[in-house]
């Protein structure tokens, strides 16, 4: 791992570990938007690891930002850090300037005229906090104002805002951006995969810790072979989720998604398909190991579990991406299946 990555990893893990214990997460769920924590995040540049240096960012790669995205999952971070980084990456590609404040990532279809972007019931993460909307449309990156938009709040089951946004948004800037039309959907899938990998890591660590401490029949749960099987199974799933997302980030950095031939599209599809599918067993096993305490609000396993269930569905789940891969396979035919994976 290069130095920038390890420094970033260490500093974000420290920040989140300090600021986001279960009490803090509980408070934020009750009180809403944690403005001061967001300010801290922005002050440390964590929202813009992928932004250009001119924009105050680190001009990082997706491999560089993966430790951060994973940490966002691990600590159930209730802030649009992943989304902000994606918006900054888009701005960097388009040489566009992203105004200060929370950017609202739009992944749905929009209508664009010479002055406005019309959105119809887009689900925008932290839409009610957003000062701008960030839209990729027909070879352009559009950045709009949010004044005058109709915004209805709705949280996903992780209690993270996925607000409904409709109306005509005034265009602040438009820049040519030569990326495929589904770029936001694909990179959205990548960031959710990374968050799942992080949430899964937290579920494993909590389960191992709990099983080592909780005693029944006179010994720690972890000494029962049945529980060891659960934990070993869980460890394999967690490690495989991490492995495939790390790989997808590296492949994206090397090959992008706009090139001809085999690009990162395949690897991202694999990552989101695998991580989404793994959520079921990861949450089932980690809860089983915890017994009833894991089903309480007081014990914080649910902060990651509920997000894992939300993230597996967002930006396409295992069926959507599985179908994409299955279709690619039948198009290649049996003889082309292995080259699809290796070449």
């Amino acid at each position: 791992m290069n130095e920038m990555r390890s420094i970033l990893e260490e500093s974000v893990n420290r920040l989140f570990a300090d600021e986001l214990d279960w009490d803090a997460l509980t408070r934020i769920e009750q009180q809403g938007w944690p403005a001061s924590l967001w300010e801290q995040v922005c002050a440390q540049g964590i929202d813009r690891v992928l932004a250009s240096e001119a924009a105050g960012g680190m001009a990082g790669s997706w491999g560089d930002v993966y430790p951060l995205l994973r940490a966002c999952g691990r600590y159930a971070v209730p802030l649009p850090i992943a989304e902000a980084n994606l918006c900054h990456w888009l701005a960097r590609q388009a040489h566009a300037e992203l105004p200060a404040g929370v950017p609202g990532l739009v992944s749905q279809e929009v209508f664009v005229d010479s002055t406005h972007v019309t959105v119809t019931d887009a689900r925008v993460p932290w839409g009610s906090q957003a000062q701008t909307l960030v839209v990729v449309h027909a070879g352009e990156l559009l950045i709009t104002a949010t004044s005058g938009l109709e915004i209805t709040r709705e949280d996903n089951i992780g209690r993270d805002p996925r607000d409904h946004v409709s109306g005509r948004a005034e265009i602040l800037s438009r820049s040519p951006l030569a990326v495929p039309a589904d770029t936001v959907h694909l990179l959205g899938a990548l960031i959710r995969s990374a968050q799942i990998a992080g949430g899964a890591a937290a579920a494993l660590d909590l389960a191992v810790q709990y099983a080592s401490e909780r005693e029944q029949f006179g010994r720690p749960l972890s000494k029962f072979q049945a529980i060891q099987h659960h934990l070993a199974d869980l460890a394999g799933l967690v490690a495989s989720a991490d492995a495939i997302v790390m790989s997808a980030c590296e492949v994206f950095d090397q090959r992008g998604i706009a090139g001809a031939g085999r690009d990162a599209r395949f690897e991202i599809a694999v990552a989101k398909c695998r991580t989404s599918e793994a959520v079921e067993k990861i949450t089932r096993l980690s809860h089983q190991i915890h017994g009833a305490i894991g089903f309480t609000y007081e014990y914080g396993l649910h902060f990651v579990s509920r997000r894992l269930w939300a993230w597996r569905a967002e930006f396409g789940g295992s069926s959507e991406w599985g179908e994409y891969l299955g279709r690619a396979a039948v198009e290649q035919g049996g003889d082309g299946l292995w080259p699809l994976i290796t070449d």
Binding site: M1, A17, A200, A201, L204, D205, V208, Q209, A211, S212, S222, K223, Q225, Q228, H229, L231, A232, D233, A235, G236, V238, A239, S240, D242, A243, I244, M246, S247, E250, V251, Q254, F266, E267, A269, V270, C273, R274, E277, S318, S319, E320, W321, G322, E323, Y324, L325, G326, R327, A328, A329, V330, Q332, G333, G334, D335, L337, W338, L340, I341, T342
Partner: protein, 389 residues
Amino acid sequence: MAASIADSLRFEPCEFPASLVELRREVREFLRQELGSYSVVKRSQSWEAYDAEFSAKLGAKGWIGMTLPTAYGGHGRSAFERYVVVEECLVAGAPTAFHWVADRQSGPLIVRYATEAQKQEIIPKITAGKACFAIGMSEPNSGSDLASLRSRAERTDNGWLVNGTKIWTSNAHRADYMIALFRTDSDPDKKHAALSQFVIDLSQVKGITPRPIQNLAGGRNFNEVSFVDVELPPEALIGTEGEGWKQVTEELAYERSGPERYLSCFFLLRQLVDAIKDTASAATLARLGGQIAWATTLRNMSLSIAAKLHAGEDPLLAAAVVKDLGCQFEQGLPGLAQELCELEPTLEGCGTDYQQVLGSLVQLAPSFSLRGGTPEIMHGIIAKGMGIR
């Protein structure tokens, strides 16, 4: 926060050096030409299918014992080059059982521990694809609990005297050599430390009788092997007396993380794609795609371990994870294929190619979670690696 298990179990991505593209192309082309005449059932069995002629051809290409030193007739090539050849053979359904064990573990073991004379004699045969090795470890009363094995090798004036019984010994009835694990010390307190490894030239010794055991599909690959007053020369001991267990476990990370741990049914997956390609619903494609996602993920993990081994690490825990996940994946494929495609499994020579391959692998699948260590035992190793056992 306590030390994170998740952070201690990571599989950093590893890209093959670009120079391997040409080798891969060459291997593919060779296999395409060679394998056309083999039956699909034989191909579906890949590293279980024994074919001396094929192994000799592969050896002639320089693709067996690739990583062994050139001084002994090896090719001095990298672990990644070998990895490419192995995975291409598996996916193409090449019958590699004849040289499999020699290439994967016996060759490296001999280079590491055997005498100069043994190296000079044996390694060139291995690299030529002309030496078949068997592994004599399991016994009737010692399977998962291998260290409880009872076959004994006693020191004599002329070497060693061996008595006992091995079982499930693949290819013992047609192998040239056997690497066997025997008890060399009767001290009951030394369970592991009383075991030693031997290399046996099966053409030179008397008293070894293999009896093939038919498997459920009708094949005869593994054997019960009896040893009655077998006299071995002193140099048959390989490595250090009493360190057999250590020597055996040294090779385990290689054995458990190789591409054969998830690719055993890839030939079926290829056939399945063609069998359903015109009729598959979206739901079926999604299930198929899920398997492709698994295969890709496992390949990344297996390669990541190859890189760790290459760098001199000993990732035993990570290898157990790959073996466990790979086994779940490959063992699940025949059942899934049956679900996705309503065609009956058939015996060799009946039905379509796809049906024959399905018929073959449905029957072989139970063995995937036995050979090389069971999932229950892998889970124990993983639990130990996590510090909870």
